[in-house]
Amino acid sequence: MASHDESSVSRKKSSDSVDEISTFNAENMQINAKIISYSRTFMSIIGGVIAGILGFTGLTGFIFYFLVMAIMSVGLAAKAGFSAHPYFDSWNQILLDGFLGGLLSFVLFWTFAYDMVHIF
């Protein structure tokens, strides 16, 4: 089995000033993106369960989902210390990435919890 070497993999970005080529540690970029994805997926599921228990139907539930995602964006920004630069390429990765990705999980657990609590 090939040994997994520990050196970081650099990746070049396009130069934005004279003689300035910025690179990023791609391995850490992936790790940070994974962390955001896990956090948002987990909170989508929890938000779905809460929406089902509260008995939301229709548009109110989706508004609740966007509210939970917005709070998560603030939480993730606080986790990064409100400075995107050492950890991410741009602010969009923290604030908007994966915003809609958890929507299907949310709806699944929303209907599941609603059925469990209000119908059966």
Partner: protein, 109 residues
């Protein structure tokens, strides 16, 4: 302390949050059966259930933000990203790559 993958770690805070949510769900089911007896409409769970749900939401949010791990710096020149060892597969190292487009900086730390 062994290092586990983020999805394999469980925290006390997260478990507590999920327990609060389950208890709130059970209370709401009981409340609904009570409403069926008195034949009223369900307009919302009682206030203590709402408080419990908010507390569960806050605890789960805390767990969602802290359990997966800390953010790692992506800057190549920061102190914790120093390359301190060569790869072990020296026979497979390639030197004819785009790194030659970098400006030369003789700057030994």
């Amino acid at each position: 302390m062994e290092k586990k993958e983020p999805w394999a770690r469980v925290s006390v805070v997260g478990v507590l949050g999920v327990l609060l949510l389950s208890h709130a769900a059970y209370s709401t089911i009981q409340y609904r059966s009570l409403l069926k007896i008195t034949d009223e409409q369900f307009s919302g769970p009682p206030i203590n259930v709402v408080m419990e749900l908010i507390a569960g939401l806050v605890l789960c949010m805390w767990a969602a933000l802290t359990v997966p791990g800390k953010f790692l710096s992506i800057l190549p020149h920061s102190d914790e990203n120093r390359v301190v060892a060569l790869p072990t597969n020296l026979d497979f190292m390639i030197f004819n790559h785009r790194g030659k487009a970098f400006p030369l900086s003789i700057d030994a730390k």
